[in-house]
């Protein structure tokens, strides 16, 4: 982990409200360990934005990193205005990685909304290792998609409004894909309701799964203790530390589905 001044190589809208940015980050890349890891980006140095913004790594190519982000608020809007050749102050790489996808399972990769970056990263990694995975990407509407719906190659797009790919959330598609496979393992990242639905489904059906959790973050280094998430099935004790709550920045962002609680 280090803080690096990264030169922006590309910053463009790839679908409605979805942006992709590539920058040079040789230092951060030298510590990178795999899909799942994330960065903390400082939006400006004038304290208009106190906390860095966590962004998952979508791709690493030589000494360059790509992120994919959705316009969400003031901060991400400002990020869209970053010019090629400009410099971003970035802390990383942070967090743990997806694991088990190289085992005896068929990886089912599910990304929704802003959570598709680490899933696409894992998809590419599977391709590199010639592991045949299935990819399910969900969006509210067709214009938010930038890939092709290609079921024969295991790529399924879904839209809440049915304007592209399979209609509905990612869940019906996931259930259908899992039903056709003997030994699926689910890897998912997305908004909270999606992760919660995912968790219920995989636990009920005893499907191994890893979920990448998003959290409001203050520092990314464990110092602020802000990104707490409740652990699942924890015995309440009168006095404990780090047993009821986990810190997403240090222990995550990737958790086994049975580990954390979204309630």
């Amino acid at each position: 982990m280090l803080i690096e001044q990264c030169k922006i190589i590309r910053n463009e809208e790839i679908a409605g409200g979805i942006w992709e940015m590539e920058f040079s980050a040789p230092g951060i890349v030298s510590y990178y360990t795999g899909p799942g890891q994330f960065l903390e980006i400082l939006l400006d140095n004038k304290w208009s934005f106190t906390v860095r913004r966590p962004m998952s790594i979508a791709n690493v190519e030589e000494k360059r990193i790509t992120i994919i982000y959705k316009i969400f608020g003031r901060g991400t809007t400002l990020l869209t205005e970053s010019k090629v050749g400009g410099i971003l102050d970035i802390l990383g790489p942070l967090g743990n990685v997806f694991s088990g996808w190289q085992g005896n399972y068929v990886p089912i990769l599910v990304g929704g909304g802003v959570g598709l970056a680490p899933i696409l990263n894992l998809f590419r990694e599977c391709q590199k290792h010639q592991i045949h995975s299935k990819l399910i990407i969900g969006a509210k509407t067709g214009r938010e998609h930038f890939m092709d719906h290609d079921p024969s190659n295991g790529i399924f797009l879904t839209t809440d409004d049915g304007t592209l790919g399979n209609p509905g959330t990612v869940m019906p598609s996931l259930k259908k894909v899992c039903a056709d496979i003997d030994n699926p393992m689910v890897f998912a990242c997305g908004p909270l309701p999606m992760l919660k639905g995912m968790q219920d489904f995989v636990i009920q059906n005893k499907i191994p799964a890893q979920l990448s959790v998003e959290s409001y973050m203050g520092c990314g280094t464990g110092l602020c203790q802000g990104c707490a998430i409740k652990r699942r099935n924890v015995k309440e004790k009168a006095h404990s530390y780090h047993e009821r709550y986990s810190l997403v920045c240090m222990d995550g962002p990737v958790y086994s589905a049975s580990e954390v609680s979204f309630d």
Binding site: L42, T50, C219, T221, L223, Q225, C227, A228, Y245
Partner: protein, 304 residues
């Protein structure tokens, strides 16, 4: 060569740049790219008698030029701290001040008794009498002059190490509380802790913090911190450690001019925990530029 050394009680620090409690872990768990040995000292996160999980999320939210936190004193507890953290301080290369918090007078005392029963490299204790995050405990000591006095007196009788009382800004007369701490034997006061704040989501109509209120920190606090330090400076003789919204070396100079003898960096550590080490060179340059030999000669020199 400018002299950046400062003195608090009988302890000399190599420079006046400290890190604030709750923003720098236990000192031994900061990222590798930070060279903590350059710092004048590290104030640990608040340690309590028993381990604490802290508050449910959401615990933090960004605000204009700052943030609100309500972590709830999540920490490992004094026994684990003594066993697992304290031994690492012998090679850490800077001075450690342990911040302690309690919900009764006895709890504070018990922590210090435990710490004093072992040999350690800790040079002192900072007493958190002012943390506004926890519904139970903390708050009442810091807003009450006589409780602050009683607590300080008890803890003073238990240790020869530095005793630093960290003051709350959420009081009517911060100088009066500082005076009480001084009269009862505190070696220094730190000012200020976070200011009680709130942030509301206009879509959900909920507070952005689980505990409703939290502690506001960051540059938004600097004018409040400076005013508090200046007020205290006119009331006490013991050193004041200035805290609140410091992000650069010129902020440090402002705090010195207001009356601080040292400073703590807080929220800036969340953006970049190596900020403090860079500030030290900048302070030397500033002192050279204005032709002063010792940074201590700036203390309280604001021209009013």
């Amino acid at each position: 060569m400018t002299d950046l050394r400062i003195q608090i009680g009988n302890i000399e620090f190599k420079n006046p740049i400290f890190t604030a409690s709750g923003t720098f872990g236990y000192g031994n768990d900061v990222p590798d790219f930070v060279d903590v040995s350059k710092l004048g000292g590290i104030f640990t996160k608040s340690i309590t008698l028993h381990p604490r999980e802290g508050n449910p999320p959401p615990r933090i939210v960004e605000t204009p030029s700052g943030m609100i936190n309500s972590i709830g004193l999540a920490n490992v507890g004094v026994d684990h701290y003594m066993r697992e953290m304290v031994p690492s301080y012998s090679t850490i290369g800077t001075k450690i001040i342990m911040n302690i918090a309690g919900s009764t007078l006895d709890e504070y005392a018990e922590i210090i008794r435990k710490m004093e029963s072992i040999s350690s490299d800790i040079v002192g204790y900072e007493i958190n009498i002012s943390c506004p995050n926890v519904k139970k405990g903390g708050m009442e000591f810091g807003v009450d002059r006589s409780l602050t006095a009683e607590l300080t007196k008890i803890l003073r009788s238990l240790t020869e190490r530095l005793l630093i009382v960290k003051l709350s800004p959420n009081v009517t007369d911060i100088a009066a509380i500082a005076t009480a701490a001084e009269e009862c034997g505190a070696d220094a006061v730190s000012a200020i802790n976070t200011v009680v704040g709130m942030s509301i989501n206009p879509t959900t109509w909920k507070s952005n913090i689980y505990t409703v209120f939290g502690g506001l920190s960051g540059p938004a606090l600097k004018p409040i911190g400076l005013a508090a330090v200046q007020k205290i400076f006119h009331s006490v003789k013991i050193p004041i450690i200035g805290i609140g919204g410091i992000t650069g070396s010129l902020d440090v100079i402002e705090y010195f001019l207001a009356g601080a003898s040292a400073v703590q960096l807080g929220t800036v550590n969340f953006q970049d925990p190596s900020t403090g080490e860079r500030m030290i060179d900048e302070l030397e340059t500033y002192c050279k530029d204005v032709s002063i030999d010792s940074i201590s000669s700036l203390v309280g020199k604001v021209k009013n």
